[in-house]
């Protein structure tokens, strides 16, 4: 637990030092969403129908931007070697690192989603499902994305490959996340897709740290 805490404080401290690293993806998210608003006809009701997909795809894309750097600095300065050899299990330290990644890139998206959804004229009835869905789904984005980043950490040009690896694995999250909002808008029960997202989240929290740790070790062989 000390090890996890040490990683968390280090990551947050680093984030305070280089704010652009996590502010830019947020800005990107806001701009993508607002561009859809600008591109549509003024007050087009169709926009509201697409709002859940736009917000979810925006979240996915802005998360993709941050993935390439997730482990790269630690790989290049030798920190990753030391983490592999440390007393604390690598799965735990990787889990802590991915949690920090979510705190910096996922959590702000959850907080920004509601005002942006209003900007896209999403009816208020859909807001709780949207925010809950993102709260359950963005950690999955961080964890699965982290796994893909770990697979490609030793590759010089991983940036182009990452979307191909990440997007298929995350398709169900997108489907159920946007589906929850659509169900809520139609007056249906949004609980089923949200429960499904929660199940995926717990599954990711348990399994992904191990898989990512194995992928990172592979980078040294």
């Amino acid at each position: 637990m000390n090890a996890a805490l040490a990683i968390l404080t280090r990551e947050l401290r680093l984030a305070l030092r280089s704010r652009m690293d996590w502010l830019l993806p947020l800005l990107f998210f806001v701009m993508v969403v607002l561009l859809f608003g600008l591109g549509a006809r003024p007050n087009d009701p169709v926009l509201a129908g697409f709002a859940p997909s736009i917000l979810w795809v925006g979240a996915l894309l802005s998360m993709l931007l941050t993935l390439d750097r997730l482990f790269r600095a630690d790989y290049e300065d030798g920190t990753l070697e030391q983490l592999c050899l440390a007393e604390a299990p690598l799965a735990l330290t990787v889990g802590a690192k991915l949690t920090a990644h979510w705190l910096l890139t996922g959590l702000p998206l959850v907080l920004l989603a509601a005002p942006l959804a209003v900007a896209l004229q999403l009816p208020v009835a859909g807001l709780p499902a949207l925010v809950w869905g993102l709260a359950l789904g963005t950690p999955v984005l961080s964890f699965v994305g982290g796994f893909a980043a770990a697979l490609t950490v030793a590759l010089p040009r991983a940036g182009l490959l990452l979307p191909l690896l990440v997007l298929p694995l995350l398709a169900p999250v997108l489907i159920f996340g946007a589906g929850a909002v659509r169900a809520a808008l139609g007056g249906l029960d949004a609980a089923a897709p949200l429960y499904f997202l929660a199940a995926v989240l717990v599954l990711c929290l348990t399994l992904v740290p191990w898989a990512a740790a194995a992928a990172l070790r592979n980078a040294f062989e």
Partner: protein
């Protein structure tokens, strides 16, 4: 321990290469015979369907391709698991040999499914569980292939691909059971269904033949690819040099 020696012998590249060399022609010819029987009978002699008329005949391509897309993924993931746990070289090569074959059959299943869907359902594509997860399966195959291409060291590449394949295997039950779990537009399974048969014999035998024939064909292609893979990875070792020297004479 001694009962495992055959296993280790089999897993060694040279002896597996020779075994594959003997096995592959059999698979190839058998596949040709079964596919010939299945497709000719299915396309020309089987009766037409009570609902779909002649359009149903696409099942003789669609069903084998769809079944293979899943089976090959499972095969790839099993190879990946073996490669990760026991670090067996043969399994690493097998994983790489399977991936493009599986991707091709997945693409074939999707294309034939779309051609079938337009006249029957009234739409090439619907975003329902079965179709979407089959599409995701195609992307997973492409991810494995892309990852493999990106690495220079084949062993590191194989292990990275193995991890990805094993993680992605979670999609397989979703494809397989999506029709039962969700009310899907796609019909349920015909062959592997409990209870009374839901296809008449005159349609079923060509179908079975084309499914088994396609499996044998996939097996043939995978074996040949695996042989190539072994040759290129083991290039420079004594057995490859011996083999090449012999064939050149």
């Amino acid at each position: 321990m001694s009962s495992w020696t055959w296993f280790h012998r089999l897993a060694s590249p040279p002896s597996f290469y020779r075994l594959a060399d003997r096995l592959a022609p059999w698979l190839g010819w058998l596949a040709l015979a079964l596919l010939g029987y299945g497709w000719i009978n299915g396309l020309f002699f089987a009766p037409e369907d009570y609902q779909q008329k002649d359009a149903y005949r696409i099942i003789y391509v669609h069903v084998p391709a769809a079944a293979l897309s899943l089976s090959l993924y499972v095969g790839m993931a099993v190879a990946g698991f073996v490669a990760l746990v026991w670090r067996m070289k043969l399994a690493e090569s097998a994983l790489i040999a399977i991936a493009p074959v599986g991707a091709s059959f997945t693409a074939l299943a999707l294309v034939t499914g779309m051609l079938w869907g337009k006249p029957m359902w009234g739409a090439y594509w619907v975003w329902d569980a079965r179709l979407t997860s089959e599409l995701v399966l195609l992307f997973l195959y492409l991810g494995v292939i892309g990852l493999w291409q990106a690495f220079e060291d084949p062993r590191a590449a194989a292990r990275a691909c193995a991890l990805l394949a094993v993680v992605g295997v979670i999609n397989v039950p979703i494809v397989k059971y999506s029709v039962d779990w969700w009310n899907s537009l796609h019909q349920g399974s015909t062959i592997l269904k409990m209870g009374k048969p839901s296809i008449t014999a005159a349609m079923a035998y060509p179908l079975f033949a084309s499914v088994i024939g396609s499996y044998l064909f996939a097996g043939y292609v995978v074996l040949r690819r695996l042989q190539n893979e072994l040759l290129s990875r083991e290039a420079g070792t004594a057995w490859v040099r011996e083999l090449m020297g012999r064939s050149r004479v």
